[in-house]
């Protein structure tokens, strides 16, 4: 067992529809779906970025194993009808996609969190 605890906090601000999130020293401005979208990201966008970045890191590990450069891959994510979609643009390395998908299933925590259903405990 090598348990690590990750934490974050989100605080209301003096401006309606704007929230300040912090994890360690890193801060992110969030806005509600009805807020000023120039001032921050929405919660859904935050979750899409979490999933996309996690799958991107896993993809880069597959690239590393094959000594590929990171010069031409990116992911495009959206949520449509309550299904997450991650479109992979792997350029010249599209034939690696089966390895990438397997690695994501085996090692991506955010992917796992979405497909597995995580118990949540609430206290006030």
């Amino acid at each position: 067992m090598a348990i690590s605890t990750f934490g974050a906090s989100v605080t209301s601000t003096e401006h309606s529809h704007e929230y300040l999130a912090q994890a360690r020293d890193f801060k992110i401005n969030f806005v509600s779906q009805n807020g000023d979208l120039n001032k921050g990201i929405t919660p859904i966008e935050g979750l899409l970025a979490a999933l996309g970045s996690c799958e991107t890191i896993v993809t880069s590990s597959v690239y590393d194993k094959n000594n590929f450069a990171y010069n031409d891959f990116y992911l495009q994510l959206n949520l449509k009808d309550s299904i997450f979609h991650a479109d992979f643009y792997l350029g010249d390395h599209a034939d690696m996609f089966a390895d990438v998908k397997r690695s994501i299933k085996e090692t991506s925590p955010v992917y796992d969190n979405i497909v597995r259903a995580i118990p949540i405990k609430v206290s006030k």
Partner: protein, 148 residues
């Protein structure tokens, strides 16, 4: 209905990733050194927790406006435990959170009963809460560009 769209790109710095949101916002995402990164940004699982907390803030504000629930400040603290052996490929251990704990800290004159009622309602309505606590499909697909 198409919701939001995000593009993530690997940078050339360690495990660092750039998340581009609507071409307006960029978030730097990385892993801590103990997990192979260079600690230049928030981790993906921390970002997931902040998205959940922001969703709960959004629903709180909406419920408060509709139900005359006044509060001066709300802090949502979130924690999640991960067994790194699972994240590193042990098939017998889940690689995501084992559980998530949320604590609401209100600065308000409302009674505990009213706070309890509010929390019950916002959890029911928080889209991110449901996306994490229920099984949701993720479709990973390859897109091949046409040869020039």
């Amino acid at each position: 209905m198409m919701d939001d769209q995000v593009i993530t790109t690997k940078t050339n710095v360690g495990l660092q990733v750039d998340a581009n949101i609507r071409g307006i916002h960029h978030i730097v995402i990385d892993e801590p050194e103990f997990n192979g990164g260079t600690d230049t940004g928030i981790t993906p699982v921390e970002l997931e927790l902040t998205a959940l907390g922001a969703s709960l803030q959004e629903e709180t504000e909406k419920f408060a406006e509709e139900n005359n629930f006044a509060y001066r400040k709300l802090t949502v603290n979130l924690e999640g435990d991960i067994d790194l052996e699972g994240m590193h490929g042990n098939p017998d251990i889940p690689n995501g959170f084992q559980e998530i704990r949320i604590k609401f800290i209100f600065d308000t004159d409302n009674s505990q009963d009213k706070i309890d009622d509010l929390v019950k309602n916002i959890i029911r309505n928080s889209r991110i809460y449901h996306l994490i606590s229920e099984k949701i499909p993720v479709v990973n697909a390859i897109v091949r560009k046409e040869s020039k």
